[in-house]
């Protein structure tokens, strides 16, 4: 059975016709040519297909495209156009923020290279080797930082009753990122990249505190 659906992908509205059996991951890659989410295990065990749907990290391989009609999807390709890179709201402005034609090394600031701060941190800390898991890693990290800012606890959080943004030490980061495997074993540098971004957000948290539920 075919179904026509509409997705807003990295700020752009797309309306593919998909078989009901098509996953969100396959719709993005095979129908829409959005190749940044990767197919690793295709069974929800590796995290390579992680994208943000409505600002929350999910696995594209276990999501049916037809069940996401109307969804706002942000892949690693569109992360750089997020407003602050943290809350996952909207990919608005993506089209006006083209990275095409930018020469390597022409980075004039965190917002000028088209990269999300988390992506830049992965580069700065060498948080990858082959790069296959990286689009999923960065989407997961962006979603995870938003969850932490919203005060979500984790399996290793000592005090469940503590409110406010979660404090992300290394143990917390490792636990919260455990759904993304890296078979090259770049975990140490992925951890460093996410740790840096967690620290940046913790410093900024007081100013943004009012908006956090």
């Amino acid at each position: 059975m075919d179904a026509r659906i509409t997705l807003r992908v990295d700020g752009e509205e797309r309306s593919p016709t998909v078989d009901t059996r098509t996953t969100l991951l396959d719709a993005l890659r095979d129908r829409l040519g959005v190749m940044s989410p990767k197919k690793g295990c295709d069974h929800g065990q590796c995290g390579a297909c992680t994208v943000l749907v409505g600002g929350r990290r999910v696995l594209g391989c276990l999501a049916l495209a037809v069940a996401h009609d109307g969804a706002e999807v942000v892949t690693a390709r569109g992360l750089g156009a997020l407003p602050d890179g943290g809350d996952g709201n909207s990919g608005g402005g993506l089209n006006g923020n083209s990275r095409n034609g930018d020469g390597d090394g022409e980075r004039q600031g965190p917002s000028d290279d088209g990269l999300h701060p988390v992506q830049r941190a992965f580069l700065d800390h060498d948080g990858l080797q082959c790069g296959y898991c990286t689009p999923g890693q960065v989407c997961s990290a962006v979603g995870m930082l938003a969850e932490a800012a919203a005060g979500h606890p984790s399996h290793v959080t000592d005090d469940l009753t503590r409110t406010g943004p979660a404090v992300l030490d290394d143990t917390e980061i490792r636990e919260r990122m455990s759904g993304n495997l890296c078979r090259c074993g770049a975990y140490v540098n992925i951890l460093a990249a996410v740790r840096e971004q967690a620290a940046v957000r913790e410093q900024a948290a007081p100013a943004r505190g009012e908006a956090i539920p």
Partner: protein, 341 residues
Amino acid sequence: MIPFDYVRPADPADAVAAVGGRPGAAFLAGGTNLVDHLKLGVTGPDLLVDVSGLPLDRIEETPTGALRIGATVRNSDLAAHPLVRHRYPALSRALLAGASGQLRNMATTGGNLFQRTRCPYFQDTSTPCNKRVPGSGCSALGGHTRDAAILGASAHCVATHPSDMAVALLALDASVVLLGPDGERTLPLAALHRLPGDTPHRDTVVEHGELVTAVELPDRASARHSTYRKVRDRRSYAFALVSVAAALDVADGTVRDVRIALGGVAHKPWRAERAEAALRGTAPTEAGFARAADAELAAARPLEGNAFKVPLARRTLVAVLRDLAGAADGGTRHDGREGGR
């Protein structure tokens, strides 16, 4: 994957009618288990009725002080909810011990209850499995049994229930609200899941077309002193070998109320009523905890590959009770979180 139709029902009654009226229809919520099974060929519904958009996503207190959790509340939202974190810490802990951040953002309360065993033979369509194909045999017997049940299994099936959440809900005396063609019924969670017997293809007592709309938790003193401890083969993102959810209410040096459930040991979340009976009215001591664990595990019938689960369950149960008793005494705060690290 077998072709299927897809509909979004207008309301819960519409959803029930859509599935109830077609033998090959199934509900779809978060999809984290079902979509995988569609790919693997474990199941092949001809119609998916997507309930994820139904207005069942609220968490609210009822007039009696109970907590009513809508069936489509996502696992991550439930774990993070302030009332759950304060009143039912075992539930938050269990949810956070399960799956990954991405999966918890997708998986729903209702769907979690109906996820199916991760027995490797159930998921491998090239092998016999009585749960997947009734009467075809059990490949786990004589095969890989590290994950298999030690309590309540049968000659037809030794699979374990994979949910963490359901184990905590059982120890918290949850009820499940089901909507069917003939209206609503409420079932104690303890009566939802089945032992395998000679019909292991049926995980629960729920009839085709019945939809879980909510889970209800009573407001009990012991629930506030509850926790969940999970032991697994790696530190994170793995199913339980053994897990323990317990709620303990100690007053005047005596166990006034205790509720215990075990995970990873049976075809269903296992309520440890023998252990509870051995503890109620006694002083909370290490020796008493060990006796209670032994009382429960006397019925264990391990296989060659999972005999380790008996002493592991015993030690984990004793440790959880020790931590809860210590916390009740105002001693060093220990809530069992370390079990999965």
